[in-house]
């Protein structure tokens, strides 16, 4: 049985360290495949960095938000889905869990 999208580990595309810069809560990423530069601010940058450290499932990301310093996020599940959608739109995710369904 294949894992569902909630259980599929998400990973960030390989990026050279020189193509990323972090200043305070802003992360700027250069994607040399398309020449685009992305600004990932706040929690989006935090999730990006977390996924870059090691691939994680959606439920692990939700748990991270629930246990982290993010009391302002009312609905972590919906929030993470939005973040993943955004990272997918920017083509910064290495594999798309929906593609493996």
């Amino acid at each position: 049985m294949f894992p569902g999208p909630q259980q599929h580990p998400l990973r960030i595309i390989p990026l050279p360290a020189a193509h990323q810069r972090q200043w305070d809560d802003e992360l700027v990423v250069y994607d040399q495949r398309c020449g685009e530069t992305h600004l990932l601010a706040g929690v989006v940058g935090e999730i990006f960095t977390l996924l870059q450290t090691s691939p994680r499932r959606m439920d692990e990301l939700i748990a991270h938000l629930q246990t982290g310093q993010h009391p302002d996020i009312d609905d972590p599940e919906s929030f993470i889905q939005q973040v993943i959608l955004e990272l997918r739109r920017l083509q910064l995710l290495d594999s798309d869990p929906l593609d493996s369904e």
Binding site: A18, W23, L27, V28, Q32, L39
Partner: protein
């Protein structure tokens, strides 16, 4: 032959208005005509054809190719705009940012700005009050070192800015006013002699300030997060995409070494005061 920072320009023209303006504005940068090498072969002449009999026009040629002509009265501004085009098309050994750049104590103040943001007015005023003019139009950032290379050229003033600078700085050398250009009335300010004499001295980026002129605005400098500043700097660069990863790394290094601000600008003296405070408050 004109030496403009890292570029040598061979200019040929029969137009008296161009010859006199070049003699005025590039007085300290003219080189022997037989200088063997040059970066740009430029010609500025009357447009030919029957139309030119009743509506005289000037054409700018780079290696004998020419974009659209302009009225003959705009021949000198056409030279300056054509030169911008030459540099933007060919200066890819630099990250080229559309910005005014000034220097003090070896540190560069970079002011990117869309047309109308007020960067040329601020640039002219700063260059006449203690800062060294590096460029009114291009921040040339060396890819290898991140240093800003000077490009001392006349500062292009438009419309109300001309009288503002003439009024504040009566000793400033201003050229002839050209009316009815696509930018309105245009007048060039001769670069200070010190800027020309020190054209080989590069400077380290220290401040990136995005000015925004608004009539009646309260003058204030507001810190800009570096990530946002980097995206705006990339938007202002002529060749960021062409340079690819090197463009990103150069721009990111520049931002990383600079304090970044937005300048809301309504009053020249007040904004000059704010920008002067930047350099004096540096540790």
């Amino acid at each position: 032959m004109i030496e403009i920072g890292p570029f040598l320009v061979r200019l040929r023209s029969r137009l008296e208005s161009v010859a006199s303006a070049v003699a005025l504005h590039y007085e300290g940068q003219l080189r022997a005509p037989d200088t063997p090498f040059c970066d740009f072969h430029v010609r500025l002449d009357r447009s030919r054809g029957i139309r030119s009999r009743w509506r005289p026009q000037a054409r700018f040629y780079l290696d004998e190719t020419s974009p659209k002509p302009l009225p003959l009265s705009q021949a000198y501004p056409l030279f300056e705009w054509g030169l911008n085009w030459c540099i933007a098309q060919h200066g890819h050994r630099f990250l080229m940012i559309h910005a005014a750049v000034l220097e003090r104590d070896g540190q560069a103040l970079i002011m990117p700005g869309v047309p109308g943001a007020g960067k040329s007015t601020l640039c002219a005023a700063l260059s006449l009050s203690g800062w060294r003019l590096l460029s009114d139009e291009f921040a040339l950032v060396e890819l290898a070192t991140g240093q800003v290379t000077p490009l001392p050229r006349p500062v292009s003033l438009k419309n109300a800015a001309i009288d503002i600078i003439a009024g504040h700085f009566p000793s400033a050398t201003l050229g002839t006013r050209t009316h009815d250009t696509t930018k309105g009335t245009v007048c060039h300010l001769k670069p200070p002699a010190d800027s020309v004499a020190r054209a080989a001295e590069s400077a380290a980026p220290a401040w990136v300030v995005f000015p925004r002129f608004e009539t009646g605005a309260t003058d204030q400098l507001v810190e800009l997060p570096r990530g946002q500043a980097l995206l705006r700097l990339a938007d202002s660069a002529f060749n960021y995409s062409i340079l690819g990863a090197r463009g990103f790394e150069t721009a990111a290094d520049l931002i990383g070494h600079s304090d970044c601000f937005e300048l809301s600008y309504g009053n020249l003296d007040a904004s000059l005061g704010l920008l002067n405070e930047l350099s004096t408050s540096q540790p």
